[in-house]
């Protein structure tokens, strides 16, 4: 009888210990994995020790060829194919709009900002671009002539569907 009691207590302790210890143990392993993964991701610092300063990389050039880049998905804001050094976009001026606004496109032959930019949040069209679309660089950015730091595995919908139809016709 006494033996049985002891066994049951030992069992309980074992059960409790696994219950309590398991999460702690697994959390340890997860942290270790995180750390390992973090070290493999390329950064601008190139695994330089935290207490030392890396010789900075050369600054890549902005692509300035005026050739439109394909969009990765229909709603993607088009990227800027030219330099925008010292273009002022502030409460007084918007340099971008001196070419891309509706009344300047004839002269500049630049693409006009899309109609969505004239809509306010309720979908009503305004005469000028909507204040919420005023700061161009919130969405539109230039591209740099640089190697990507990490591989991009993005597949656009078009290729994905093409792949799928190819697979289904095979069967």
């Amino acid at each position: 009888m006494k033996d049985l009691k002891l066994v049951s207590i030992a069992g309980l302790i074992a059960l409790l210990s696994t219950l309590f210890l398991a999460p702690i143990l697994t959390s340890f392993t997860v942290h270790a994995a995180d750390k390992a993964e973090r070290n493999t991701v390329a950064t601008l610092r190139d695994h330089t020790e935290i207490d030392s300063q890396k010789e900075p990389n050369p600054i890549p050039k902005v692509i300035n060829n005026d050739i439109k880049k394909a969009r990765n998905y229909p709603m993607q804001p088009p990227v800027i194919p030219h330099t925008i050094r010292s273009y002022e976009v502030n409460k007084y001026n918007n340099k971008c709009m001196s070419c891309h606004s509706r009344h300047r496109t004839e002269k500049s032959q630049a693409p006009m900002v899309s109609v969505t930019h004239f809509m306010n949040r309720d979908g009503n069209f305004l005469a000028e671009i909507s204040p919420r679309r005023y700061f161009c660089n919130q969405c539109h950015v230039t591209q740099l002539d640089a190697e990507p730091l990490v591989e991009n595995t993005f597949i656009d919908m078009h290729s994905l569907m093409k792949q799928k139809t190819a697979n289904t016709t095979e069967h």
């Binding site: 300035n64 060829n65 005026d66 030219h82 330099t83 050094r85 010292s86 002022e88 007084y92 001026n93 709009m97 001196s98 300047r104 002269k107």
Partner: protein, 195 residues
């Protein structure tokens, strides 16, 4: 007062009774060198960046803004100082500009733009002065360095080459028409052509 002027006039018109002609000619020549040289040296001193930014209005506003632009620092290390763009290089125009600049001395004495806020209030007017000047002299101060005849369109971006070989080449546009605010921040451009 009248008699004093008369004495002066008589001294100038009467021949010298004490000094030899040689002394007068050589003395006049040397004095001429000193005065003319001194005048030009003083003029050149006022034509330096150090002189311009000795006023805090210039140092804290326009000079600070210039520092971030390509006319201050660039790949080849050629830079423009204040007078390169703001003072004509040929003598008569330079003197004319210097006379206009006496207004700026007035401004700094009475503190017309002695704070950033005051400067911003006046910025459009001040910018318009410079646009008008450059428009009137066909952007002469730009062209002192940027010579159209030696522009290599093949080295320019496609858009730049197009604009320079059409609008600029035909004389329809001058540099300042498109290149406003390249060395300093822009004022409120409402109503300016092309904005």
């Amino acid at each position: 007062m009248k008699s004093l002027l008369l004495i002066g006039w008589r001294t100038l018109t009467k021949p010298s009774g004490y000094y030899s002609l040689g002394a007068l000619v050589i003395g006049g020549f040397i004095a001429g060198i000193i005065f003319w040289g001194g005048f030009n040296t003083a003029l050149e001193v006022t034509n330096t960046e150090a002189f311009c930014i000795s006023c805090h209005e210039m140092e804290n506003n326009v000079y600070e803004e210039l520092k971030t632009t390509i006319h201050f620092t660039n790949r080849s290390g050629v830079r423009a100082t204040c007078p390169d763009c703001h003072v004509p290089h040929n003598w008569t125009s330079k003197i004319a500009r210097k006379m206009q600049a006496s207004k700026e001395v007035w401004g700094t004495i009475f503190g017309t733009i002695n704070t950033r806020e005051k400067f911003l209030v006046h910025r459009r007017r001040l910018a318009e002065n410079e646009w008008r000047r450059l428009k009137a002299n066909d952007s002469l101060e730009c062209r002192n360095c940027h010579n159209f005849d030696y522009m290599d369109f093949t080295a320019q971006s496609e858009r730049a080459a197009y604009q320079h070989s059409t609008a600029l080449a035909s004389g329809e546009k001058t540099c300042i028409d498109c290149h406003k605010g390249i060395a300093h921040k822009l004022p409120d451009m409402k109503g300016v052509e092309g904005w």
